[in-house]
Symmetry: C2
Subunit: 138 residues, 2 copies
């Protein structure tokens, strides 16, 4: 059902501070430009490892959904895990048939393709993002 791990989401109070650390760890060219996703209340920065990505996520605005996580984990930490699927609507129907809780309707995610989240309680405590693979990369 699920494909490759597109990224590991890591929440942080400061992308700027940790992007610098990742430049040292994975190379300057591995760290992308940060950008805002106002509809989702986050600012993000993708870091390339050889086989997957780390998505650094910083709160954007007072209603950011990651304020709660950072209140519990002030230094930041692993926040979610994102798997690719070929078709987001078929994936949503499949998760619902399995009795797993899909959080909201598919919407455009940080990579420009549709995504949804699955409730962590149905995934062993792991907040799970399901992302349609970019076209041509199926």
């Amino acid at each position: 059902m699920l494909g490759r791990v597109n990224h590991v989401g890591v929440a942080t109070p400061s992308i700027e501070q940790w992007a610098e650390r990742y430049r040292v760890l994975l190379g300057a060219e591995a760290v992308g430009e940060p950008f805002d996703l106002p509809a989702q209340g986050v600012r993000v920065c993708f870091v390339d490892a050889p086989n997957t990505q780390i998505e650094l996520i910083e709160p954007l605005g007072e209603g950011s959904p990651i304020h709660g996580f950072l209140a519990r984990n002030p230094a930041g930490g692993q926040h979610h895990l994102c798997y690719e699927v070929p078709d987001i609507h078929r994936a949503k129907a499949w998760f619902e048939e399995q009795g797993m809780r899909v959080l909201g309707e598919p919407r455009i995610g940080a990579h420009g393709t549709p995504i949804f989240f699955v409730h962590p309680k149905d995934m062993g405590g792991v907040l799970t993002e399901i992302m349609e693979s970019p076209r041509g990369e199926h």
Copy 2:
């Protein structure tokens, strides 16, 4: 400095329960046989995604280092992130030169190669395992 993400470590109160879920999510052949690592106080089970692995970790014995994590996260959750390096001793020296805290001496990990952990406070809150790549896979 760091190579591929070897695995995402996910702590769970029950490998048996969640291995079944991962068989449905990633295919029966993706889920390995669980095995005990008594020296580390954990029982582990590797699950293959196409580009990396999920390591399910369950406490083994009363002194297991993941009891505290499961007390804070009873449903389980993302516990650590493991990167490969070509040479564990060079990697340890490098982290120490950077002023990052290496937790103990290199020891044999779940894949049979030497590993160490880096303090989460030096990695944006992410407990980080550094693992020497299996021979022939550099």
